[in-house]
Symmetry: D2
Subunit: 343 residues, 4 copies
């Protein structure tokens, strides 16, 4: 018996999660809800996803654009076991009461307050905490990237303290109204909210985060300084620890990946233009005594997609633990190690 999943909100995250749901062997995509017609809505119809009207949108508006409408968001909610809410920030929190009233479970994104759900979630880090839950919050892209790395480092080497500078992309590629065009904007909430957000998953982790916004659309980059409790003899052990973990992609120096422009080009080469893994560079990982330095790039548009899938699986106990859920998710999404290349 497949779990029925509906997506409320069909923007950057929603459309990717819809595609991911449609590819899972143990889930059925009920449909997607959108407020207004646009090229995105077109895409849903092209892919055969039932399209529901959300917010203050109207059936007439969609139909005049030639887009068939399956019903209202309320109808979609009634027909599903769980809603993945991918509405714009803060709207998800407002939607929570409706899901509750309809008696359906819900997954929220990291833009909502932690209190919207019973648990904040990252597959590698705390899959078990979401088992059987009715309301789960998948943490934001930056928090997901850090939580995955924390799952590796805390378990393998222990973490005394962790400083992250988050160099944030200012806008997503299709957000043509957001700047800055030229300049760097410090985030004056200092330290930034990301550290406490990581602590919703790792309550005892001594992590401090700061952030600046820079004029790029591709990916965030994290500059990490971690003091390890039991450091290995050299950085190779750290490289291997990351390389042996699902959802990490480590570039070798000979690949000539200078930065995020080549990472995204690599992604296009793979055929998807998304990068759901944490991206690291072998020559961007350095150990000096107990001090680990590493760069990590995070694709804000897609990194949380597999975690949304795993959250569904945990909530409905479709898989008993992280490893088995992630294996199903990653196989369905084509996230796997590469077939060639030196270790």
């Amino acid at each position: 018996m497949k779990v029925r999943v509906a997506i409320n909100g069909y923007g950057t995250i929603g459309k990717r999660v819809a595609d991911a749901v449609a590819r899972q062997p143990d889930m059925t995509l009920v449909g997607v809800a959108k407020t207004r017609p646009s090229y995105d809505a077109h895409r849903a119809v092209d892919r055969g996803y039932p399209l529901y009207v959300a917010g203050n949108g109207t059936r007439a508006e969609f139909e005049s654009a030639g887009l068939p409408v399956a019903g209202t968001v309320e109808e979609m909610v009634r027909a599903t076991d769980v809603v993945i809410d991918a509405a714009p920030e803060k709207i998800g929190g407002e939607n929570a009461a409706r899901y509750h009233a309809a008696g359906v479970r819900a997954i929220f994104q990291g833009g909502e307050q932690a209190g919207v759900a019973e648990v904040s979630f990252n597959a590698l880090a705390n899959y078990g905490a979401a088992l059987d839950k009715h309301r789960v919050r998948v943490v934001s892209c930056n928090t997901t990237g850090i939580a995955r790395a924390a799952a590796v480092l805390t378990s393998k080497f222990g973490v005394e303290s962790w400083d992250v500078t988050i160099v944030r992309r200012a806008a997503d590629p299709a957000e043509s109204q957001r700047g800055p065009i030229n300049g760097i904007l410090p985030t004056f909430h200092l330290p930034s909210h990301h550290g406490p957000d990581v602590q919703t998953i790792f309550p005892k982790l001594a992590i401090t985060t700061t952030a600046v916004v820079v004029p790029t659309t591709l990916m965030h980059v994290h500059v990490n300084h971690v003091r390890l409790t039991t450091p290995p003899r050299d950085a190779t052990a750290v490289v291997e620890a990351f390389r042996g973990t699902p959802r990490f992609h480590i570039f070798a120096a000979w690949e000539k990946v200078d930065g995020t422009p080549q990472v995204m080009d690599f992604a296009r080469d793979r055929g998807s233009s998304d990068v759901m893994e944490n991206v690291l560079w072998e020559n961007g990982i350095r150990l000096a005594g107990p001090d680990l330095y590493f760069f990590q790039a995070v694709h804000q548009e897609s990194i949380v997609v597999p975690e949304n899938i795993d959250a569904v699986r945990a909530m409905f106990k479709l898989a008993p633990d992280a490893a088995s859920s992630m294996a199903i998710t990653d196989a369905a999404l084509g996230l796997r190690g590469r077939s060639v290349g030196p270790r």
Copy 2:
């Protein structure tokens, strides 16, 4: 009997043409040649393309990166019927003698001088001129975009005169060393070379082009002013003429595609992140008496890909005319009208 095709140069154009060749029912991909290992080379191996060493590269360098080598570029050339040269600008011209010496046919890209080939080529415009030819030059991305539009406008309405301002992207997405970061650079070759390049295909077309370079990586945009000989009564006829032609994609206003950022996002939605069609906007086409104004976006990374395929087909008479070749190419590449949306 399939035509054997080899690709010399595996960068932005070469890798896309290789994929396209691999998908054609009447062609076999012999292999691809590359100078040095990189993430691009990795991709070739992942896709199972035989990888040959070009230029001053060495087998050892590839093998130490874990990339199996099929042979040298000379060996590749001996094993093929035609080479598609996608080497960096000017190198293609230098390679021409080698192809000739090896007795194989060759296709060159638009960065080479017109004299490198017997004919400069655009499928819609002059497919017949390449029949049976041994050396064909596929014109550059901007010239391809203009030539396609010229094929439509000259045949349907006649063109008295044509002014194009080409607003050029400064670098491809993965070229992280090229600027400017903030500023506009006029191209002081005035008028620009694109007009004469279009005239290699339309010798009598009264076209003048000028260009500026702007800090974006996504697409070029052409601002066109065409004086038509026999203008239709309103712009709708022009919209329909473009819409009814293969390799044109016309956005409707309701799709909310503000510019090139959303065009590329739409492309990712389609699953390829490439846009091999001329991109126009219904609300970006305006007729005022005989004066036609329209915007057109050109994806510099991919627009010439289908033309390279059609060039092979013309040279080996695999299809008798443009329409039949383009139908095969476009079906193989998934370039087709959309399934929904108002006309």
Copy 3:
């Protein structure tokens, strides 16, 4: 007797016009009005300009920032002969009734509708039309740049037709919230509003304009194609015509000014970081028979500043004609030919 001038709105344009007024021998700066404290307001106080509170701002808010307040905008208006309105777009139109009620004259910027004033103004083009007027509108930056060039070309060579592609900067340098960061946005109002705006000054000019927005903050660039009525024998005559006109700056090829980045660097070298002149390049002016092609860069932050000054002078008949007013303005602002360099 000096004319008293007040500035309502102290942003990009207002602060520059205030400085310019303060330097004129025949004008007194009454003060400037601003809605809220900011680093801009600080600057006004540093320069000794009386600071008035506009809009829904409060005296307390300024004083808690340590900024002394001279009064309300109403008080400023009562104390002046003319208000130069540099409020955000559309607000100027709303302010018009207040100025009228107070019995003071007013100058508006090009973001307001032409109907707000008795005449749309450019010093070189129609100084005389503003003599004795009570409400004058200085046209926008792009229109000012075109109007100046039109004043030269219509008088020297005659203009049959004129096509301009306006490559627009997307945001001013300090507008860190505006995008796009990567991409080109066509302006779908086609032709653009700039052509009709030029015709508020040159009613019979056959000009058509189109526009695209690009991710830069420095300057607009115009790509011009003009069909001349009586073309000179070669481009030199055109170069000389521009070079001999105030408020034109022509770069020679040896200066290695590739585009707007170097123009702005040159401006900083001059000591102001503003470029109130039309900027052209000697190697960016080309004549082919009757067809003149040229690039022109327009500094959106400052090009209208001298025209605001001349508008005051015309309205109060402080100078009888454009030449004498411009001479005073330009001497006060340091806009003059350079002391060295070949002709």
Copy 4:
């Protein structure tokens, strides 16, 4: 008796240092040397600086551009007491032998190896170390910014450890050939060279630096985490310590300076478009126990200018200590506290 100063290299740094020398009461500007004519060279002539020909440039090339030449760089060197070398990176090191052979003293920039000079220099930090020296190296822009902050923090509160993430501007405003246009490039030299460079001045400082390059031209931004030895009770004491030190500029929250775009706009408001001070934000300084977090922006084009002046003064003992030299320099350059604003 004034010290005679010559500038070899008239680019971004050289032209600013020349202006600064020309304004000092105790120095004479002998002239500036440049390889080729350009708009920069024009500027030197406009300002009346004797222009010498350097490198492989020729007198004829300058004269054909209308630029009078005072002689060769060798002649300039013979006529001076000290050369400030502002040649492109690495060239300064090559020039060192010539200065030595000519028996003149020399100042080098931070792009050269530390070994080129007897001492690496920052005015606030180690003025005394340059007294009477013949070869002094002014450290780079980023190192200067850190050294100034270190001078304050080590003396007032003590520093246990210091982590800096340097978010680097990718190109200077006029460098239109450098990218990236869209993307973030980690600096894989990890930790970066800046830490050891700071230690040429503060040998015992436990500082670690990492760097990323981002697509902006305006300023670098440093994200600092400092563990203080004797932390004050709250951040106010830190703010006051910085505010009370020359060459620090602290923005208050009410000024609405979101980031580097507004900092540079503020600079233009001051009349220079340069920011020779370390720039901090009051709401970007946070103390949590012994942990100090703060953002700092560094204007790469100008921050080292006053230090070059102070280096001359130390070498020739024109002032006995940092405070007296900096007072003269800063008065001449107009670097002073602002006249208004709350403390």
